[in-house]
């Protein structure tokens, strides 16, 4: 399994420093969320970890080794780590779904037949087979997101970084997307998702990375999202299962030593058990 990390990252834009001496290790789990307020550096961090953005200081580590930005080293890094951007139109260059997905596998040096096999595999995983005969410009935003993800998945990365994959999707679309991420994780891919949705983060992930003030806090998702100081510093809110449970505990309706719930089913189970 590939592990990603960073040491002393510093990244700045014209508007100022976004990441300042940030050190993280994405170990201990395969379902990660990156949380933070707008402008906190979530996308910047993912871009740096993917090799797309070079920090002004610090290092990206892959399996403990510093990432080199020489072309061959970057190409090797991209075989292992893929990033899906928030706007799918920043990645989709072909009007043909299958052709676009085949781009990455061909760049890996696969033969056309093997590349087409990867396209079939990615389309099956992302349930895109019914869209293969439609032009990209005819697809909805959610469908284009799935095509963009398929383009990355076809390269069989060991780590998949996704920038707000559920943004703009309807509830059913979100469920479909999470189903896709579940299947990827079951196949052995470490999935790292940047999101604003704390409820989704609590329900889906096991490890969380909260970015804010140039630095990051890493830990178990439930522990991180139960820490009110971390929540308020990152301009987040407590996920509703934790908020509801806290209020029920305050009202004496639930014991304080119960397991923290992550979903509605967990909350109902707590209430049934009392």
């Amino acid at each position: 399994m590939v592990t990603l990390g960073a040491r002393g990252l510093r990244v700045g834009y014209d508007r100022g420093t976004v990441l300042d001496d940030l050190t993280v290790d994405l170990t201990g789990g395969t379902r990660w969320v990156v949380l933070g307020a707008n402008g906190s550096g979530k996308t910047t961090l993912l871009s740096v970890l993917s090799g797309a953005l070079r920090p002004t200081a610090g290092q990206v580590l892959r399996n403990g080794q510093p990432l080199s930005y020489r072309p061959r080293a970057l190409a090797e890094h991209r075989r292992v780590v893929q990033m899906v951007l928030q706007d799918p139109d920043d990645q989709l260059f072909s009007a043909d779904v299958a052709a676009d997905i085949s781009f990455g596998p061909l760049n890996l040096g696969l033969s056309p037949d093997d590349a087409l096999a990867r396209v079939d595999e990615a389309c099956a995983l992302l349930t895109l087979d019914h869209l293969r005969d439609r032009p990209v410009h005819q697809l909805s935003g959610g469908e284009r997101k799935r095509v963009a993800i398929a383009g990355a998945v076809a390269m069989r990365p060991q780590v998949l970084l996704l920038d707000e994959p559920t943004a703009g999707l309807d509830p059913e679309g979100i469920d479909d997307m999470l189903g896709v991420l579940d299947r990827l994780e079951e196949q052995g891919t470490t999935v790292v998702m940047a999101t604003h949705d704390v409820d989704l983060a609590l329900a889906w992930s096991t490890r969380a990375l909260v970015v804010g003030g140039g630095t990051a806090r890493v830990g178990d998702t439930t522990e991180i999202l139960s820490d009110t100081s971390v929540i308020s510093a990152a301009r987040l809110r407590r996920p509703w299962p934790l908020e509801l449970t806290a209020r029920l505990i305050d009202a004496g309706l639930l014991p304080a030593d119960g397991q923290a719930p992550r979903t509605m089913a967990d909350v109902v189970a707590l209430l049934d058990d009392r």
């Binding site: 139109d89 781009f103 590349a115 410009h137």
Partner: protein, 255 residues
């Protein structure tokens, strides 16, 4: 997102899965007859055959076909006017109609009729291919003809981005109109100028972001892709050859 009717027809065509070369044989064969055979009966026959193949065999919707040929037809009509009308100050030629030095002469009308015949026939032969073959398939076919990859990639990217920028321009225009930016003539010009300049800037930004996105997928300077091969259809090839041959015979045979 607005999609031109011809593009929509091409993607939805029942001929979409046919080999591009097979379709090109039919279309280009009719085009060659249209431009080289005597206009009557060759050009007319080629045009009629192209229309029949599009509407009857390929079942291109009539409305879409009509919209596809409308603009080129207007273009041909304007060209025909320029050919039919001539300046004849010497009044040496018999005129069908004359006002002062401006006249419509019999030779001019003959040339105009030839232009209409050849132009319309050639245009319908090309529309037959365009209405049944998406641009991406045409570009794949051109790659197999050893057209330089760089040209193919520029064309493919332009095709993809045209829809993106058209959608953006449409959204910007609607937003301006919602804020009463198009209620006057000067307002419409200003809105058009603002939309154009904004789309220009967005195009640069989109190019930068797309380059970064492609770099993440291993882009090294070539937009190589692959699509499933489409096999040739011998029955289609035979039918296409027979149709083109019959049209050519009709066109050149000294009746």
């Amino acid at each position: 997102m607005h999609q031109p009717a011809l593009d929509r027809a091409a993607w939805a065509s029942r001929w979409r899965t046919r080999n591009v070369g097979d379709k090109a044989l039919l279309s280009l064969g009719l085009l060659i007859v249209a431009v080289s055979a005597p206009v009557w009966p060759g050009g007319v026959a080629a045009g009629a055959m192209a229309v029949a193949c599009a509407l009857v065999w390929a079942r291109v919707p009539v409305g879409i076909w009509a919209r596809a040929v409308a603009a080129p037809t207007v273009f041909i009509a304007v060209g025909v006017l320029a050919v039919a009308i001539s300046l004849d100050t010497s009044r040496s030629v018999d005129a069908v109609w004359r006002t002062g030095p401006i006249a419509i002469t019999t030779p001019g009308l003959v040339r105009a009729a030839e232009l209409v015949g050849r132009g319309f026939a050639g245009m319908t032969a090309v529309v037959l291919l365009a209405a049944t073959t998406p641009m991406v398939d045409l570009l794949t076919g051109l790659r197999r003809l050893r057209i330089p990859d760089e040209l193919i990639e520029v064309a493919a990217l332009t095709y993809r981005m045209l829809f993106l920028f058209a959608a953006t321009a449409g959204s910007l225009h609607r937003a301006q109109a919602a804020r009463l930016g198009t209620t006057t003539l000067s307002g419409r010009f200003q809105t058009a100028g603002r939309v154009a300049s904004r789309v220009f800037v967005l195009a640069w930004d989109r190019a930068r972001r797309l380059e970064a996105g492609l770099a993440g997928r291993g882009y090294t300077g070539a937009l190589r892709t692959v699509t499933p091969p489409r096999p040739h259809s011998m029955p289609f090839l035979i039918a296409a050859t027979l149709l083109v041959t019959a049209t050519a015979v009709l066109g050149w045979f000294p009746w």
